[in-house]
C-alpha cells in the first residue's frame, strides 16, 4: 500500500514537472518563424505565375479543383468564388499572414489564419506539393498549442491584453498544452525520419548504396556542374546513400539521449541544407530544419542572448563615440533646409557650418 502511494506520488510529481514550465520555447519560436518564412516564400516564389497556378482560370481545371475539395470533405477559400478579384485578395492576404507569422505579429490567432490560407492554396493545386508542404500543414496546428510567440516576435500589446482576460484555470494549463505541442512536433519529425529511413532500407538502390547516383541525375533535382562531381565519385555516392539511410533510422534514438540531441539535430540540419543546395528542394529542407530547431532550443536561446548582448555592446560603442549625439540632449528644431535637429547638431559638432541636406547626410553617414 505504501509502495503504491509512493508510486502515485512519483507519478503526480512527474505530471507536475511536465506541466509546470514550458520547454523548448526558443526552439519552437524558431520553428514558427521559419515555417512562416517558408510559407511566405511559397507565395513569393510563385508570384509571377500565381494566376496560372492558382487563379480561377489556372492550369488546374476549376472543376477538378472543386471535385477534389468535395471528395476530401475539406475547404479552400479559393473555391468560394471564380472572381479574379477574390483570388487576388485571398492570395495577397495569405502572403501577408505568412509574413506576420514570420515576424511574430498577431499571435496564435494569425498563426491559425495562416494555416487556413496555406491549406487553401495547397488545395488549389495539389500536384505541385511536396513532403515539406505536407509537414508544414500538419505541424502548424501543433504549434497553435505552444508559446511559439515568446521569442522572435513583435508584441502588439493587443494580444497581451487579450491573454490577460483568459480565465486563470485556462492560463494555468498553458505550460501543459505547450509541452504537448512541442512533444507533438518532436514525435512528428521522428515519424518522418523513421518511416522514410525504414522504407529506404527496403529499397534495392539504397541497399546497394547507389541511390544517390540516380537521384542526383534526375534533371529536376540536378545542379548542373556540381551534381556530377558527386555522382561520379563512388565513395561520395556510397557514403551519402548509406549515411542518409542510417541517420534517418537512428535519428529518434539520437534525440532521446539528451547528450546526443543537439548532435542529432545538427546532423539533420546539415543533411537538409545539403538537400536544399544540391537538389533545389529549399522548401522541404527548411521545413525539416524548422522542426529540428525544437531540439536545439538551448542553442537558439544562447544565440539569441549573444545577439542581444552584441546589439547592446554595438549600441554602446556607437553612443560612446565622440560624434554620437547625446541621447538625452533636447532636440534642436529642424532648420528650413529640411534637416532634422539631430542631423544639424551632428553637423555642427563636426565643425561643419553648412546647413545643406547633402552635407548633413554625408556627416551622419560618416558617424554610422
Amino acid at each position: 500500500m505504501k509502495g503504491m502511494k509512493g508510486r502515485f506520488a512519483g507519478f503526480t510529481a512527474l505530471l507536475d514537472r511536465l506541466s509546470g514550465s514550458p520547454a523548448a520555447v526558443a526552439g519552437v519560436s524558431g520553428t514558427r518563424a521559419l515555417i512562416g518564412f517558408i510559407g511566405f516564400m511559397f507565395y513569393a516564389s510563385n508570384y509571377g505565375e500565381r494566376d496560372y497556378l492558382f487563379g480561377p482560370h489556372g492550369v488546374y481545371l476549376w472543376q477538378d479543383f472543386i471535385d477534389g475539395v468535395q471528395e476530401n470533405g475539406t475547404f479552400s477559400l479559393y473555391a468560394l468564388s471564380t472572381s479574379g478579384a477574390w483570388f487576388e485578395l485571398v492570395f495577397h492576404l495569405g502572403m501577408i499572414a505568412a509574413l506576420a507569422v514570420t515576424f511574430g505579429v498577431g499571435g496564435r490567432l494569425v498563426l491559425a489564419v495562416h494555416w487556413v490560407f496555406l491549406w487553401s492554396v495547397y488545395q488549389r493545386i495539389p500536384l505541385i506539393l511536396d513532403g515539406g508542404d505536407n509537414l508544414a500543414y500538419i505541424v502548424l496546428p501543433m504549434l497553435l498549442l505552444t508559446n511559439c510567440y515568446d521569442r522572435f516576435s513583435f508584441s502588439t500589446g493587443l494580444v497581451r491584453r487579450w491573454a490577460d482576460r483568459v480565465p486563470g484555470v485556462v492560463r494555468a494549463m498553458s505550460p501543459a498544452l505547450h509541452n504537448l505541442g512541442v512533444a507533438a512536433v518532436a514525435g512528428q519529425i521522428c515519424l518522418v525520419y523513421v518511416v522514410s529511413g525504414l522504407y529506404k532500407v527496403q529499397g534495392r538502390m539504397w541497399q546497394d548504396g547507389t541511390a544517390l547516383f540516380y537521384v542526383l541525375r534526375i534533371p529536376e533535382f540536378e545542379w548542373p556542374g556540381v551534381s556530377r562531381l558527386l555522382y561520379e565519385n563512388d565513395m561520395l555516392v556510397m557514403a551519402g546513400t548509406y549515411g542518409a539511410t542510417l541517420f534517418m533510422v537512428y535519428f529518434p534514438l539520437g534525440v532521446l539521449v539528451p547528450s546526443l540531441r543537439p548532435w542529432a539535430a545538427l546532423g539533420s540540419i546539415g543533411l537538409h541544407l545539403s538537400i536544399a543546395l544540391l537538389m533545389g528542394l529549399t522548401s522541404f529542407a527548411l521545413t525539416m530544419v524548422a522542426c529540428d530547431l525544437i531540439f536545439l532550443s538551448k542553442g537558439v536561446e544562447a544565440g539569441l542572448r549573444r545577439a542581444r548582448a552584441t546589439g547592446r555592446r554595438l549600441g554602446g560603442v556607437l553612443r560612446d563615440r565622440k560624434m554620437w549625439p547625446e541621447r538625452d540632449a533636447p532636440p534642436v528644431a529642424a532648420e528650413h533646409t529640411g534637416n532634422t535637429g539631430v542631423l544639424t547638431r551632428t553637423a555642427e559638432k563636426m565643425g561643419s557650418i553648412s546647413g545643406s541636406t547633402e552635407q548633413a547626410d554625408h556627416n551622419a553617414a560618416r558617424t554610422a
Binding site: S19, N46, L127, L129, A172, A176, G203, V215, G280, T282
Partner: protein, 207 residues
Amino acid sequence: MARRAALLVGAALLGVYFALAAFSQAPLSPAKIRYGDKANTVLSPYFTQDWLLFAPEPLADDRGILARASCPDGTQTPFYDVTNPYIERTQKDRFFPSRMSRLVSGGMQSMENTDPFLNRVRQQEAERDKPVLPPLPFEERSRESAVRFLARYSLTQMPGACDGKPEKVQVRLYVHEFRPWSKRNDPEAKEPVHAEDLNWLKVGELR
C-alpha cells in the same frame, strides 16, 4: 489538478494520433488491408501524410512530356518540348525555385495513382506469368484526369501553335533510362528512351 488532467488527456490523444499516423505509414500487411482505410478516414484530410521520400526505390530515369497540335487545316505541328524550359529554370534557381517544373512531374505521377494492394497483386501476377489485373474504374478515372491535365498544360505552353487556334492536342510521354551503376564508366552503355503517344484530345474539351 486542471494542469494534470490537461496533460493526461492531451498525451492520450497524442498517443492515438501517432498510433494512427504510424499505422497509415506502415508497409502493406493483412492488418493494414483490413483497417488501413479506417485509419486514413480519421487522419484525412488535415493529417494525411506520406513520408516515403525517394523510397523504397527512387526514380532512376529522366521522364517528361512533349506535345503537338492538330490545326483546323488538317496539318500537325512538330512536337514541342514542354518539360525542359521549366526544369532549366529550376536548375538555375537554388533558392525556393518556382514550382512550375512540378506540373509535369506531378501530372505524370498522378497518372500512376493506384492502391498499394493492387500494386502487389499485379506484381505477383506478372512474376507468375499470369494475366495482369486490368485497371479498376477509379484508376482509369485518375489516369484520365491526369492525361487531361497534361494536355491542358501542354496547350498553354505552345500558344503559337496553329496560329493560336489548335483543334486537338496530343501528349507524348517519354522515359529516358539512366545507365545503371554497374555500367557507369562504360562509354558504350546504352541509355534507352521509351515513348508513349496518348490519344488526341479536342481542345474544346480541355477548356
